[in-house]
Symmetry: C2
Subunit: 417 residues, 2 copies
């Protein structure tokens, strides 16, 4: 049996720009598959602001498929299974009325509105910075390049490589690049974050174009925003410090990217589908992206080993497949996050005369949450491989046909798009 | 073997008020199960306005379970399988851009936006009046009572029967009643209906309270409403008569009923969940209601034969179960019909720069349509029976417990609610 030895000629070189959670998870997936990876991050070290992040079961399943070390990093980073009840190991996502459907004589009562079952270990949460710290350890030495802020990309069809020019005047080459640029668009919300409690407040005013995306805010601002809310919520705000951080939140809803790929360049994670945080699923969808891309790279490496095609053709086909598989679901998230924001902020929910209408909104919240949580990543892996192989047959046939190498009309009957 | 003979003491008597499609389908289901049914309709004969109505596969499956004669009526009423393609027997629901994403030099081009696969015989459509005509023939003689307009209902707990008083001064009794009152609420739309083409136009003005729910409109009104639409749509309007009928459409979104049952009275179909027509599923959901109720009556008759409980207790339990099983899904439809109305009327869809946003809206339209079409009626029948039996055990145990008949603490361990 001949075991082909991977060499540079048959191994794709991939540049990843941006070292957030999704960038690092992809790097962990690609290095494990033998891809030559370089990851460029503009900061001087990896740092995430210390808010929590939660992953549902299906996302942890994606991590497992990408690289089991990612799951180890998640759990060694202190992930805890969210369960309020010692007797019941399941995680539930709970919606509670904050507008005050009071029980007589009990100002601390908070009416439960909806409880969604996410299953046993259904919702593992961790501090972002702790997860990131352990994730970095999974990446082999020599992959990460800090203090590299991307300036321009050159992807010229006639040239074998893609070139990345950084703002410090240096230049790097790769077979292809993937990007997690921090993309800013329409502001949707302002968010003060004290300690581990996050309050998301809709602000009708536009965020000034020339202002940074974070600002100072005061406890008083939060009190004003939550005027009319119930006692337990107001008691919680009492515990906030006087001075708070306020983040502007942006999404890509009004300015969608037209496509996730162009030639040998490809957008993933927030750069492709930044959404508001109301589903708590932005990073999860980026991790699904990373599983799709890891699958494609496994397929591509097998093709290159068999010398079936050129690197450039295989990479273009892979990125095209990635766009086909991931675009609709991830854009749906951007849209759906806006929608559930509207649903969550209906004061009507506290109106007993509208209880049945409230139930109908929760039915929608349930459907949307389950579409996120019950994602079948095994089916996505299958679809990705099938779609890529189908397109590669067309692509290689087309190349042969153009080159006229075999003098026969190839791709007969399968060349239709 | 002793076969119990059904008699009046063990057979429920049900009054149905309102003889639209759902009222008649329920009558067909209940008479088949041996229920004593009387159906009261205010009109002098059965009459539906001649617009088309379509049923997806799962609704036809419900009809089959309710009474196969309903399916025969549907098809003898001339139901046709919607398929535009001779080669492909599947039905598709198609969305086409009407705002004019033109192909150069081809003003008749209409850009396809979404095509949803409803399967083979996935969408059977029929004229309402023809279906109703054949449906009436399924109902045994003596059931239908025309020119009976309900005035008041008396449901007194101490009395064995429910009494219905009609506006002509007559009175009827039954064990329980089900109602398809024409319930009017917030106006959402005005709808001119020429021949078999329906144009649904949002009108920002309120429909006057004192005006009838139909009015005259002109072709000119429709032209004005469709200003800026593409040539094929405007050509179609050219074919309309000068004078048109305009219907106001009402739903129950802003004024939901608090519950579908009260004692031995129960709301079904539009009386419970009138929705705008944007999903084309109002009647289908009423037919699902009828399957749920037919299932409950089968269970109830078995209980009464075994003298396990009183008619009144069994009927109250059955109606309570019906409310539990049907309320959330049907209220979701009212909500969802409003939402897809907003989605369908986005001129943005014709903006090529927003194509990816458009796709994310269609993902939502698909999810909502599939929630309607892929309803598992077999699972609903199972859930209905299980829920009813569970509640009957509690209900009968409670009765025994109150009466202290057996001197033992009954319902031990199952009496918790």
């Amino acid at each position: 049996m001949i075991v082909p030895t991977p060499d540079m000629a048959t191994t794709p070189e991939i540049a990843i720009v941006g070292g957030g959670i999704v960038g690092l998870v992809l790097a962990a997936g690609l290095t494990r598959r033998g891809v030559q990876v370089k990851l460029y991050e503009q900061a001087r070290n990896f740092r995430e602001i210390g808010a929590g992040i939660g992953f549902t079961k299906n996302t942890v399943g994606c991590m497992e498929k990408i690289n089991p070390a990612v799951v180890t990093a998640l759990r060694s980073g202190g992930a805890v299974n969210v369960s309020l009840d010692q007797q019941d190991p399941k995680s539930y996502l709970r919606w509670i009325d904050g507008y005050g459907q009071q029980r007589e004589g009990d100002p601390m009562y908070q009416k439960p509105l909806l409880k969604l079952d996410a299953g046993v270990k259904g919702w593992e949460t961790v501090r972002r910075d702790q997860f990131l710290e352990d994730l970095v350890k999974v990446i082999p030495e020599g992959v990460v390049h800090l203090r590299k802020r991307l300036d321009t990309i050159e992807d010229n069809e006639d040239v074998d490589k893609v070139y990345l020019n950084f703002t410090d005047g240096t230049r790097a080459e790769a077979d292809a690049g993937k990007f997690w640029l921090c993309t800013l668009s329409t502001p949707v919300l302002a968010q003060p974050i004290p300690a581990s409690t996050t309050v998301v407040v809709s602000d009708p005013n536009d965020w000034p174009q020339d202002k940074p995306t974070t600002a100072r805010a005061s406890r008083k601002d939060v009190f004003e925003a939550l005027a009319g809310w119930c006692t337990p919520v107001r008691n919680l705000v009492e515990l906030f410090p006087e001075e708070l951080d306020q983040w502007a939140l942006f999404d890509l809803f009004e300015y969608p990217v037209p496509k996730y790929n162009k030639g040998r360049v490809c957008l993933m994670g927030d750069a492709a589908h930044a959404s508001s945080p109301h589903h708590g699923a932005g990073a999860s969808f980026g991790i699904e992206d990373a599983l799709c891309m890891s699958t494609l790279m496994s397929e591509l490496i097998m093709d290159l080993r068999e010398h079936r095609t050129s690197k450039a053709t295989a990479l273009r086909t892979a990125f095209d497949t990635y766009d086909k598989i991931r675009r609709t679901r991830t854009q749906w998230l951007v849209n759906s996050s806006r929608r559930v924001c509207d649903l969550f902020q209906q004061p009507e929910w506290a109106n007993p005369a509208k209880r049945v209408k409230t139930e109908s909104c929760f039915e929608e919240v349930k459907d949307r949450s389950f579409k996120i949580w019950h994602f079948d990543s095994t089916a996505m892996v299958d679809d990705t491989s099938r779609e890529y192989r189908g397109s590669m047959n067309l692509a290689t046939n087309k190349v042969k046909s153009v080159n006229g190498n075999n003098g026969v009309s190839v791709g007969h009957g399968t060349n239709k798009v």
